[in-house]
């Protein structure tokens, strides 16, 4: 079963890359884009029988490896987008 994990810096933490991208967009004239936060996206193919177990395992690997809980938060989605 497919799980998708989105990792971003916590809202309280300055994202230098996102700020730079927002600045570039403003220089292109996209002033309507107020802010950008850059993150990471993972697609996991997980061998688990149920949606709940897939979600739980994806959360566990996100917590242990995919995200650094000191500076990042993550969100897990399971099933078809």
């Amino acid at each position: 079963m497919k799980a998708r994990v989105y990792v971003t810096l916590k809202p309280s933490i300055l994202d230098p890359q996102g700020k730079t991208i927002a600045g570039a967009l403003h220089s292109l004239g996209y002033d309507a884009v107020r802010d950008v936060r850059q993150g990471k996206y993972f697609e996991l193919d997980i061998d688990a029988p149920t949606v709940d177990q897939t979600r739980s395992l994806a959360g566990e690997v996100a917590d242990r490896l995919l995200a650094n809980p000191v500076i990042e938060s993550y969100r897990v989605e399971v099933g078809k987008p």
């Binding site: 933490i13 890359q17 000191v70």
Partner: protein
Amino acid sequence: MRFAVVVFPGSNCDHDAYHALADVLGQQVDLVWHKATDLRGPDAVVLPGGFSYGDYLRCGAIARFSPIMDRVREFAAAGGPVIGICNGFQVLLEAGLLPGGMRRNRDLKFICEHVHLRVEASDTPFTRRAAVGQVLRIPIAHGEGNYYADPGTLSELAENRQIVFRYTAPDGAADERRNVNGSTQAIAGICSRERNVLGLMPHPERACEVAVGSTDGRVVFESVLAAAAVPASVAEAI
């Protein structure tokens, strides 16, 4: 004294550390591959700079699961001195041996230059030969050295005097413009609460000879050499 320098795939300052310790300071040094399950009885461990596992995922995130890290953890828990330089510092943070995390440098640039560091604590195995307030001129070379810790962690670091080095002006004065990577409170290096684990972004091993522009880094290793004999508990653990 016997040093173990851990070599991860992508480490590239392992030989700088080897050269400084073995050739300049005349110590016994073992390069220990990350898959090894034995540190070979060192008195101190160095996690060197570089790009372990290509910095994939996050700097130090994969290296922390290398087999040798279990031995490093045991060595540290038994009180043995462990020093993580640059990528080695990132590995120590990811491994939870030191608190906090690293962000991209504030201005997104990889910065490779000499900086000035003020010694904030001299009661560590790595700074006992230095004086508080002493300024060291040592190079940095990193893209992700923008140290972050949440307010709770910062007050713990202050309370336990775990902040060992700060980026400052050449005269040791606080100056945010000299905080080149944007680190919280200009923190360049911290130690564990027990004081035997040090992580720092600057490279003291690249500042041990006149020929490379500075000898200010020697005090870090000379402090380790001056440290009291390794406690018996450490000898047993390794």
